[in-house]
């Protein structure tokens, strides 16, 4: 049946409600490669303008790196454009195996399986490895893709208060009657930028015979002294049963993801994970570029070191300017505004001052927790950050929010 008017009208009403609630998201068009500076067309139809990008996942500045691009070209030439197949039919090349082996070594695990994205890895893992005799106990702030993956699985679901080890222990005790227990956490939480207490989670997992699942998408490549991830940072390399991560952030920024961990869990995914069985193989061009990225980041830690310095410097600048930010060590630094409209207006005005950032509000973050999520990159130079803070300061002064704490910021925007 065609998309009849009554159905169309009903969706238009829903979309209008999103606009009226101030929650409508709009894309902006970028006319350049990804980088510390980009050219942005906003509003639509206007001449693109150059601005400092402070909201990408391009943590190591490799998304447009010449060596990565050259490796991608070489991959296209030697292994073609697309596989036109899922992995298990005729979609696995030697370079897929090579990349999986290299990721296994880098992450310190037993085996690795590529997926089209980490979203697919998260959606596929739980259903492939658990059933109704088991329980999944997730931190309440895990990424949306983990929530989706849990919903696809018949295992019991439970949650614990964010990073609350006491609450996690209560849940583990409650579920000792289950066949298998698995604790689910992000390594670096994507909206707040804080880090999981992975060492304590690993201890609890050992105490209560539980597995540990870690989504390290916002950590792989740069957290830990050699960039292996949150497990390296927390001193628990080799103790995490399954790690999922993405190639779409620090590791080149194109797409692709993986499940990496205990040999048997990875093999279960190879046998049963639906995104692996039914979705196309990661393109050779991405595999080739990812192999180069791994070579670059294992050759030297200078990029992750620079990123660490940038993050510390930027936090200091924001605090000195009087912004309310979430504490942490990662390169994700949320500037808390709490009100969705303020977050949107702030982002719009930042753009006028030459800084590109986006307001985050419900449903991306909980209601009343709107923010500008700033993210640092190794591609940022000190001059970028010095310029950016001037823009933030100017806009902050315009809205009268500098020096205000959480309660005052919330009260400022209360109806």
């Amino acid at each position: 049946m065609a998309f009849i008017n009554s159905i169309r009208n009903s969706y238009q009403v829903e979309l209008e409600e999103i606009r009226d609630a101030g929650l409508f998201k709009q894309e902006r068009y970028i006319h350049s490669p990804q980088g510390a500076e980009i050219e942005v067309e906003f509003p639509v139809g206007s001449k693109p303008r150059r601005c400092i990008n402070i909201c990408s996942n391009n943590y190591l500045g490799l998304s447009s790196h010449p060596e990565v691009i050259a490796a991608a070209h070489a991959g296209l030439d030697s292994r073609g454009y697309g596989m036109s197949s899922v992995r298990f039919i005729c979609g696995t090349q030697d370079i897929h195996r090579e990349l999986e082996n290299q990721l296994t070594e880098f992450l310190g695990t037993e085996d690795t399986l590529l997926f089209p994205s980490c979203m697919d890895a998260n959606c596929g893992f739980f259903e492939a490895c658990l059933n109704d005799q088991d329980v999944m106990i997730a931190d309440r702030l895990v990424h949306a893709s983990i929530v989706d993956g849990m919903r696809l699985c018949k295992a019991m679901q439970d949650t614990f208060k964010h990073s609350d080890m006491g609450h996690l222990e209560e849940k583990l005790q409650e579920h000792m009657d289950k066949r298998r227990r698995i604790i689910l956490t992000d390594g670096v939480f994507s909206m707040d930028g804080d880090m999981a207490k992975l060492d304590r989670i690993a201890d609890l997992a050992e105490k209560y015979d539980a597995m540990v699942f870690l989504d390290d998408s916002h950590a792989t490549g740069f957290i830990g002294k050699t960039g292996r991830g949150t497990h390296e940072h927390c001193g628990v390399l080799g103790q995490i049963d399954v790690i999922t991560t993405t190639l779409g952030k620090a590791m080149g920024g194109a797409s692709g993801g993986c499940v990496s961990g205990r040999r048997e869990l990875v093999e279960m995914c190879r046998q049963h994970a639906r995104p692996y069985l039914f979705s196309n193989s990661v393109p050779p061009v991405i595999v080739a570029a990812a192999i180069k990225v791994l070579e670059l980041i294992t050759r030297t830690t200078e990029r992750r070191d620079k990123l660490e310095w940038n993050a510390k410097y930027w936090r200091g600048l924001l605090k000195n300017a009087g912004f309310d930010i979430k504490e942490g060590e990662s390169p994700i630094v949320p500037v808390m505004l709490y009100d969705a409209k303020l977050a949107q207006d702030f982002a719009r005005d930042l753009f006028s001052e030459g800084v590109y950032a986006v307001g985050f509000f419900f449903p991306v973050v909980p209601k009343g927790q709107a923010r500008i999520r700033t993210q640092l990159s190794a591609a940022h130079e000190k001059a970028h950050l010095d310029s950016a803070i001037e823009a933030f300061r100017k806009v902050g002064e315009k809205y009268g929010i500098l020096g205000l704490g959480k309660k005052e910021l919330i009260a400022r925007c209360a109806p």
Partner: protein
């Protein structure tokens, strides 16, 4: 507040709020639409009620609307207590 309402309020406070959270949980406080409990975490409340009151709440009845206030949760528990009694 009746005993069942109080039990639910106490559970919500203990399970979902941080110790320093000053928000009041009253019978008509919007739990899910108010952002206190997300629908993902709601499962533990459902399991708690089923265990404590020896009832079964079908997944189809465990909607965000049904769990949005203490008052609506009380109604849900009563509904399935009657179902259990007649079974």
């Amino acid at each position: 507040m009746d005993e069942l309402s109080q039990v639910i309020c106490d559970y919500v406070r203990r399970e979902y709020l941080e110790e320093d959270d000053e928000r009041e949980i009253a019978e008509d406080t919007r739990l899910i639409s108010g952002g206190i409990v997300d629908s993902f975490s709601m499962v533990s409340l459902k399991r708690f009620l089923e265990k404590k009151y020896q009832i079964q709440i079908p997944d189809a009845a465990a909607t965000p609307d049904a769990f949005d206030t203490v008052r609506s949760i009380v109604a849900l528990v009563h509904q399935f207590q009657k179902v259990s009694a007649h079974a």
